[in-house]
Each structure stands twice: as structure tokens, then as C-alpha cells.
Symmetry: C2
Subunit: 458 residues, 2 copies
């Protein structure tokens, strides 16, 4: 019995056209990472649940895909737990492994397992899929790709500067011109809480101000009040909002707003140092905006915080990152500081699609179809194909002895730009007819001249 096959929800196939476009994004990011000295790492799709659980909060634990143990998986399961259908406690009896949820925890595991072989500072990039059992919706998938770059083993702010330069380079090479890199610092947020008279409360403060864009200042004030901030504290926050100033001026303003906070001063000085290093790089138009209300990843970021948005497009952040103090503490290796950035390829794809930014060449099609009239001209085509392939051209010999019209129709449907039509006359004279299938233009060429002709006219 045959069944109609289907895909698991939240997952996707990528056909040739999408692959060409996705590879354009991957190749661009990979090439930028490479020129900044980052080296590739790949980790297995499955990790032991002991590595994964407890790292992403309760919600994350729920969203992990778990893999059933092989063989007679119920054999050692507790009968009482099975009888009460206690899924939570049965879980660890029947499953030891889960699918990768992000690239950071596997990287931390790798650093700990290879700590004696690694030369620090260590710069790695990693481009792999991750899986989350989230409710699928527009732009949210259960299997999606992350592109991460991290430097660990140094607290030099040169790394923060490098990250901002890399983001600029990636977006420029992708052709995205209107974007903003927001930068803030954990300690600036600490200083704000302190200045509000709510020292140590930057956690709840951030949860509330993170919603500024979505719900507005009125509602954020309500939420802050609910979270126990006093009216005076809330009033003291107001000067920090809507500071639409150039970076250096903004940092001076922040300094004047929290002169008493040691944390605040440290944060401001570090941001100023990053700006200083960036100026030295000589690169202008950095699309950089310091935003003291940027609040993400407070549970792990301890220094700089980054977020990138493409302007005038309906899409959340397409990239984010920051500095963390303690990547590997949970695996028993303390004091490994690092800073990293992650690009969301699926969102970048949608943005580029909406803006029409994919180059035509991103479509990875065959470049020349060799069409023929009969068995002898097909034999000749096989030989000609070898020459064209050696020159690097993606070349197909139409495999069947079909009518020319069918062969050209095939090329047309597949978006193959050129057909080399080989009849007995062409075969005997060596003067071959190359047809541009878009314009209809035909040229008579020697085989050896075809690669340069196509490369010049592509």
C-alpha cells in the first residue's frame, strides 16, 4: 500500500533555487568569518541530555527534541511511573539523548573537552542546524540554521570591535544597506537600575523596557510598577529613554545621568573604548547606534550586548550577540570569557527575498545544455562536454534521443542559459552553434572558444 508522504510540521525541503540562495548567504557569512581569523567547528546533531538539560531554562527543556533509546527502550523503565503515565519522570528512563538546541552549549562542551589542546584566545565559527519543538508559525521553524562566531579566552575589546566590523561586512556583501546595529552594555543597565534606586533590579527592569518598541512607554510604566518599581524610580528612568544622539555624545550624556554608579561608569568606558578601536579601524558608516534600553540575554551576557535589525522590513532582529563571563562554568571550567555573534539565516533569507536582493547568479543551474539530433551527434556531445567541464562550465548532455524542441524546452524550464546544438554539419566542421536561450541570439564558435564566450557574456 502506498501512502501520500508528507513533511513533519515546522520542517522544510530546500530545492535547487532555495539552495542557491541559502548558499549565497552561508558562503558570504563564512567568508567574512574566515577573513577575521575564525576557524570552523562542527558538533554532532545529538548530545547527551545531561549536556543539554538545565541550560535553556524550563521552557527550553520542554522544547528539546528527545531521542528514544534504541532497542527495548521500556525494559528498564519504572513500572509505577509507566502505570501513572508520568511522562516527565519516565523521560530519563527511555531517553538519553536530545537534538542540538543551539550552537553555544555544544561549543562550551567542546571547549571543556578539548581545553588542553586549544590555543587561547580561540576563534571558532559554526554553521549548523538546530532543533526546537516550538509551535511553528511564520518565520519560526522546528529545524533552522544558526551561524555563530565566538572568541573565547580573552576579554580584549578588540573582539567587540571585530564583531561590529564583521556584521557590517556581512550586510554589505549581502547587499543590505539599511540596517542598524544596536549596542549596549550589561553594566550600563546595572547603572540605570542603581541610579533609579533599584540596585540589582536590572533583571526585571530589562524584561519591562525590552517591550518599549512593542507596547510603548505608558504600558512599560505600568509593568514596572507591577514589578515593584516605585514612581520615583520610574521617573528616574525617563531621561534614559529616546536618547537619539550620536554615539560619543550619547555616552557623555549617560555619564552625566549616572555619575555615582561604578557599574555604569565601567559600562560607559568599555563602550567608549569599543568606539575608539572602531575609529582606528578606519572603517566609516558602521550603522552603529548605542541604545541604553537594549536589553537581551541578561541571563548570560555580562558585558557588551548586540542586536541587528533591518530597517523598513517587518522582521525581528536578524542577528544578536554579546559578551559572557562564564561560558563553560556549568561544565566545570570557570573563568572562560568570550564574546559572540549569531546570524539567523532563515530571517536573512526572508528579508533578502522581500527586498529582492538575491543575485541572479545565486541560482545554481547548469550553464550549457548539449543538444543533439541522433546517436552519432550525441557521442560527439559527450566528448565536447568533457572539454567544457574541464574549463569549469556546468555542462549537461541531454541524455535521451528526443526531438530538439523537447531538449530546448527542457533547458528553458530549468533556466539553463545556453544550448550548444550539435548537428552532423557542426560535428564535421567543428563550427558549433551556441544559442542564448533568453535572447535567442546564436553564435557560431569553435569548442575551445565557448568557455570564455560564456564567462564573458554571463
Amino acid at each position: 500500500m502506498s501512502q501520500k508522504p508528507s513533511l513533519p510540521k515546522g520542517t522544510r525541503d530546500f530545492g535547487p533555487e532555495q539552495m542557491g540562495r541559502r548558499n549565497f548567504i552561508f558562503d558570504t557569512i563564512r567568508s567574512v568569518f574566515r577573513t577575521y581569523g575564525f576557524q570552523p567547528l562542527e558538533t554532532p546533531s545529538m548530545e547527551n541530555l545531561s549536556v543539554l538539560t538545565g541550560k535553556y531554562g524550563d521552557e527550553g527543556d520542554q522544547l528539546l527534541f528527545k531521542i528514544l533509546n534504541s532497542g527495548d527502550f521500556l525494559k528498564n523503565a519504572d513500572a509505577q511511573k509507566l502505570a501513572t503515565k508520568d511522562s516527565k519522570s519516565v523521560l530519563f528512563d527511555i531517553s538519553e539523548k536530545g537534538l542540538r538546541y543551539d550552537l553555544t552549549v555544544p561549543f562550551a562542551r567542546w571547549v571543556v573537552m578539548n581545553q588542553h589542546a586549544i590555543t587561547f584566545p580561540f576563534k571558532r565559527y559554526q554553521i549548523q542546524p538546530v532543533w526546537r519543538a516550538d509551535r511553528p508559525q511564520k518565520g519560526r521553524y522546528r529545524e533552522f540554521f544558526q551561524c555563530d562566531a565566538d572568541v573565547v579566552g580573552t576579554d580584549s575589546l578588540v573582539c567587540e570591535a571585530d564583531i561590529i566590523l564583521m556584521i557590517n561586512e556581512v550586510f554589505e556583501q549581502l547587499g543590505i544597506t539599511d540596517f542598524t546595529i544596536k549596542m549596549n552594555h550589561r553594566k550600563v543597565l546595572e547603572g540605570m537600575a542603581e541610579t533609579m534606586g533599584a540596585k540589582g533590579q536590572e533583571g526585571p527592569l530589562c524584561v519591562a523596557i525590552d517591550k518599549l518598541d512593542k507596547i510603548g512607554w505608558e504600558k512599560v510604566q505600568e509593568e514596572l510598577a507591577q514589578r515593584g518599581f516605585s514612581p520615583a524610580a520610574i521617573q528616574a528612568l525617563e531621561p534614559f529613554l529616546n536618547l537619539d544622539l550620536e554615539s560619543d555624545t550619547l555616552l557623555q550624556k549617560l555619564e552625566s545621568l549616572m555619575p555615582q554608579s561604578e557599574a555604569g561608569t565601567t559600562g560607559i568606558n568599555q563602550l567608549a573604548e569599543v568606539l575608539h578601536l572602531l575609529k582606528a579601524s578606519g572603517r566609516t558608516h558602521l550603522h552603529l547606534q548605542i541604545d541604553p534600553t537594549l536589553a537581551r540575554g541578561l541571563s548570560y551576557y555580562t558585558g557588551a550586548i548586540f542586536e541587528v535589525k533591518v530597517n523598513n522590513v517587518q522582521m525581528g532582529s536578524v542577528s544578536g550577540g554579546g559578551r559572557y563571563d562564564n561560558l563553560t562554568g556549568v561544565f566545570g571550567l570557570p573563568n572562560v570569557s568570550g564574546v559572540g555573534i549569531s546570524f539567523g539565516v532563515d530571517r536573512l533569507y526572508d528579508v533578502m527575498d522581500e527586498l529582492g536582493l538575491f543575485p541572479a547568479a545565486a541560482h545554481t543551474s547548469t550553464q550549457v545544455l548539449l543538444a543533439h539530433f541522433d546517436a552519432p551527434t550525441r557521442l560527439y556531445a559527450l566528448q565536447a562536454a568533457g572539454t567544457l567541464r574541464t574549463a569549469g562550465l556546468a555542462t549537461e548532455v541531454y541524455p535521451d534521443l528526443d526531438k530538439l524542441k523537447k531538449q530546448l524546452n527542457y533547458a528553458d524550464k530549468k533556466g539553463i542559459p545556453y544550448a550548444l546544438i550539435i548537428g552532423s554539419e557542426e560535428m564535421n566542421s567543428g563550427n558549433l552553434t551556441l544559442k542564448n536561450l533568453k535572447s535567442g541570439e546564436q553564435n557560431s564558435l569553435r569548442l575551445s572558444d565557448i568557455p570564455s564566450f560564456i564567462n564573458t557574456n554571463a
Copy 2:
């Protein structure tokens, strides 16, 4: 509490050095597939169990990694089955999805789901990991990569010729010179069984003769007898063995050995036609050997059968493939013929490692480290780095203000070939010192001359 993290058995991390080498293999195979007009496809890591089960035999069903349903997975499980710990029947109550076991079944599913959008003949390649819950051992992993190329929707033998040309091209580009492509045909095996007086018995025949290499002719005879072949039949098989002849002569010999078998004649004629097409291609040294005892994949191959072995290396086949008549029948789409080849990257890696064939350039390291003496020279280094990166050089600025010795030690350990050492004199004069860290040689160069210097001397 911190734990010592570990990897699930049968899985591996790939650090920078291995990634460079693996990417050399992937890039080579991908580039050959591309020049033959194959287009990329990727499918999700997880498939519905209804797609996967029943496609790989009972053993394959056992080896599938199954994914536990999300949430309260026991809720709808049958209480009686749970009470008796009947793992097999509980399975489908608590798991709907599994991990990809090979690339063929997902490709077949994709073809069926996209049949109206695909232009046939369709040529796709697919390079992705697959997962099998096999007992791990040397060279056998639970997560490993396959590189497949298939043409579907045509029975033209041009495709078989293309596959042999592609195999030659891949091995040549990898630098593997001593290898053998064995080719046989399902119908030759049918003809052999017929000639032995055991028509239709090519299945058990193949199981036995597949072991010739391992256990020898004596033991194979015993096994054939056990499988019910008569002494006369076994004797009739003998002339087909050890036919160490050039391909054309061998086919003539086979013809003379089974003049009465229609199947045999068809197989021989098709093999002869493939040889004819290969000769037309003009490519010599094809490393091709027709082997009438090559017997693999009899449960799905219906035409040509391929297998590639690297000679003088202890390793099974590194590549295999063949023609199948009915790729998609199990999903309700009959009569889709195709032919494909699969390269096993993990085995190719081991072979190349043993033979010392990886080019030094496969190690993807930073090309230049910018070393400095203090904060001002580090600022200068940041600017210089931008120039070198724009020229495509993988460049790092040493991030911390450490002693020069430590910086050069870092470059040395990481295998970075060049250090650009920037002191205040160099910074002021613009005459920079580029040190080759292997030879110790130093050159005084202007910044703008460094990219071409490094590219020329690399």
C-alpha cells in the same frame, strides 16, 4: 553541580583541522557534481516514521533513531501495552518522527511531493548527515555524511557513463590514483543464474558470491550447496569467476558463456553501450573493471551496479551505486527510473589520511597575525587588518596587549604562517616587517604589497 561532559557514542566533533580536510573532500565532490549539471537539494533531518519505516528492511527499522513526541508523550499511550512493557507496539504511540537514515528515501519523498513542479530528467545532489543506531566500531559511526548524486526520469545509459566519468574526476581531484571502479549489471547476474539452471535464484546466488573476496571459492561453494544449488549448477558458475580480462573481451566471453539467456544478453548489451559512450567521451584511464561477480543492492538495483575500492588500503568500498527502476513506487508514483552514486566521506577521509593526500592548504588557518607592542601600535594594526581583509587574506589582530613572544607563540601553535610585527618605527615609516614563521625569514614591505607577497609565496 558541574559534570564532566561527554559525547554520545558513535558521534564526533570536527575541529578546525578536520573541518578543513573534510571540506576539501566535500568541495571536490560538490564541484564535480556541479560541472555535470547536478543541482543541490537538502531535506529535513527528521522525517515522519510513516515515510521511513518499511523502507530499509527489519534491520533498518531497528536502526532508525526515533524522536519522542513533544509534551506529555505518554498521555495517549495504551495502558495495557505500557503495563506489559511492549516497546514495539508502544513505539508508535509515543513517537511519530525519526532521523534520516539515508538520502535516497527522502529524495524519493521529495520527488513525489514535487512531481508536478520538477522538469524531468532531474539531476540532484545531496550532501547531508544520516543517522543509524548501529553498534559503533572503527570506521562506523552513528552520525555520518553521505554525498549522493542521482538522475531520475530517464533510462538513458548516458547517465551511467556520466557517473563513471564523475567518479574518475572526483578521485583524480582528491589525488587518489590507485582505485578500481567495478561495474556489473543486474541482468548479467540473472543470466548467470539462468545458465546455472537456477533461473530466478540470483538473490541467494549473490548473497553467496558477494563473499568471494572474504571467504574464497571453497567456502562459497559450500554456502551455495547449503542454499540449494546443485553440484552441476555450482560447476556451471565456475567459468564466470576470475575473468581477469579487458572489458570488451570480457563482455565477449560472457556472451559466449550464456548465449541462451535473454536477460544475460540485455545486461551484456547495456554494459557494452556504456563502454561505447565512455569511449566517445575521449577520457582514458577510466579505472573501470567489469566484474560479473559484483553483487550489491540486489533488493533495489535493476540495471547497472557500481562499486569503488581504493587499492592497497584496508578499507571496504568508498563509493557505490546503481540503476533502480522504481524509486518512488512505495509513495504511489510508479515508473520513475533513475541511477545514482553515493560517496562515503568518512571512509574517503580515512583513506586520504592513510595515504597522506591532504594538501597543506586544506588546513583553514589564519594567514597573517598582526602583532604589536602597545595600545597605539595595536590601533594601527586594526587599520592594517582592514586592508589585508579587503584583499581576501584571513587576518587576525592579536587582541590582548601581551608580550611579542607570547603573540608569536600563539601564531606558531595555531599554524599561522605569517606575522606582521608592528612597532612604532614601522608604524611611522610604513615599512612593515613580515615574518615567515616557518623559515624565520623577514621582509620589509609596504602594507599594500603584502597580499600579493603572501599569495605568491603561499
